[in-house]
Amino acid sequence: MKLSLTHRFLESLATAIDSLNSGTNRISLNPTVAVLSALFFTGTAAFSHDFKLPLLILATSIVLALLTRSLGRTWAKILLFVLAWTTMVSLPLPFITLGQPVARLSLGFMEVGVSREGLNAMATFISRVVASAAIFTSFVFAMGWERIVSGLEGLRMPRELVLLLRLGAIHIPLFLREASEILLAREARIMRKAGFRDLWTVLTTVVGDLLLRSYEHAWRLEKAIKARSFSVKGPFWTPPSHTVGIKDLSLISVTLCILALGVLGVL
């Protein structure tokens, strides 16, 4: 383990959040309609009974990603990560779920059965998680986090929550880069070949500094917001007005169709 690896990880994470903040903006969707659709799609995928509806939603996410030209390597990486993680988590399902056996595996000292119901449960679980991740991230990639927050604002989310989300989106990359700089500065002072224990010690010393800096930064930020807030109600944003176009109507129609399929149990 090297500190430079941690540095690279923090830098990549900051860059990824930066790109998610701005999005591709290839399709100008009404943020409120888009967020509503994203939430419906994600909910439908996450709570579906089998894997057919999630597969349809996954296909929709690919279409959206293609339309917005956001089907990049980062998006694929996220999905692959989700796929790998859910596969790992759901791996025991075919073996522990009771049902019609489709295969038997001999492990030498014991024999285990693979059930059809278990395989079904595994496929459903994976497809639900991957589809919900795919559809929501495709919306985030297409619109950018800022417009997602704007959509939540349009849905009349509590003002404080919107403010927190917005500040988080802006300040998390700054915080990550600061952490990365502190690490580099500490690494520059390691004059001998450092073992895992030395590096771990350095990493742990960063935590306290980061907490302190974050607190100070948050304290000053609160003062900065207060300094430009002229009413007792505190800071506020006027939600920007967005028109509803033909693209938004098409999106909401597709969303409602898929939602209806889910609710009626057609698929």
Binding site: R166, I170, H217, L221, A224, A227, F230, W237
Partner: protein, 268 residues
């Protein structure tokens, strides 16, 4: 006096007393400097002067009335620019940053838009309006912080280390902004380490040391007084140091190159 800060005592929770009887004042069309070493209480004093921190003792008067009684409406009369722009900028785009205060003050979106574009033109930020502020250079960020505060046209401008980490061309831009604010009859208070900057823009200067204030005299005499400056852990401007090393004396101490040229021409 437009802004009068009198006998301020302030202590952070669990900490030592940062300000111990600090006082200063600034009037319309005046640029006042507060100079002092790191940790002397300059930033805290500006936060108290803008009503963001409440002192344990002492008063802040804005237009002869206690600032405390006029809050939060009085915040539109004071504009505080923080030392680190990243502490101040919190909007997704430069446009939103400048519009943040205007959206609270102006009723129509068209008026907000018009004012934002006017300010952007004045500060040469037109090309940056759609960019996220945290992705700008330090000089650009500084101009955005100034624009976002001057957008609502405050009477008092409080600048905390405005030239920190800036290139010389950015410092020149800041000098111009301060000169314009003075010309617009605003009271400008500058907390700074930068003796060259203070020499160029400030009319009066206070030295803050260990939470107490000294001076309040004409900036020229404060910046020529080595013993007073030593309290602020500062040296006189380079022009004056050079003249002293060369044992050259003029009737008036030149603090900037422009002053030096003027006194040299007058002397010859």
């Amino acid at each position: 006096m437009l802004l009068s800060v009198e006998n301020i005592h302030f202590k952070y929770p669990g900490g030592a007393e940062v300000l111990r009887g600090a006082s200063f004042s600034a009037d319309k069309g005046e640029v006042v400097a507060i100079i002092g070493p790191n940790g002397s209480g300059k930033t805290t004093l500006l936060l108290v002067a803008s009503g963001l921190l409440e002192p344990e003792r002492g008063t802040v008067l804005l237009g002869e009335r206690p600032l405390k009684e006029q809050l939060p409406e009085a915040r539109r009369r004071t504009g505080l620019v923080f030392q680190d722009p990243d502490d101040q900028l919190f909007n997704p785009t430069v446009y939103d940053e400048v519009a943040f205060s205007l959206r609270q003050l102006l009723s129509s979106a068209e008026d907000v838009d018009r004012r934002v574009r006017e300010i952007a033109r004045n500060f040469k930020l037109e090309g940056l309006l759609s960019k996220p502020p945290y992705k700008l250079s330090m000089g650009e960020k500084r101009m955005v912080t100034l624009a976002s505060v001057l957008a609502y046209d405050p009477d008092v401008l409080l600048l905390d280390e405005p030239t920190a980490n800036l290139s010389s061309s950015s410092i020149e831009q800041i000098e111009q902004v301060v000169a314009n604010a003075r010309a617009a009859n605003k009271a400008v208070v500058v907390a700074s380490h930068d003796v060259e900057f203070v020499a160029k823009v400030c009319g009066r200067a206070y030295v803050i040391n260990d939470g107490t204030m000294l001076g309040g005299l004409i900036a020229k005499s404060v910046l020529s007084d080595e013993s007073l400056l030593a309290l602020a852990d500062m040296r006189p401007p380079l022009v004056l140091q050079t003249l002293r090393l060369l044992r050259l004396r003029f009737r008036e101490n030149p603090l900037t190159i422009k002053d030096l040229v003027e006194v040299s021409v007058a002397a010859t």
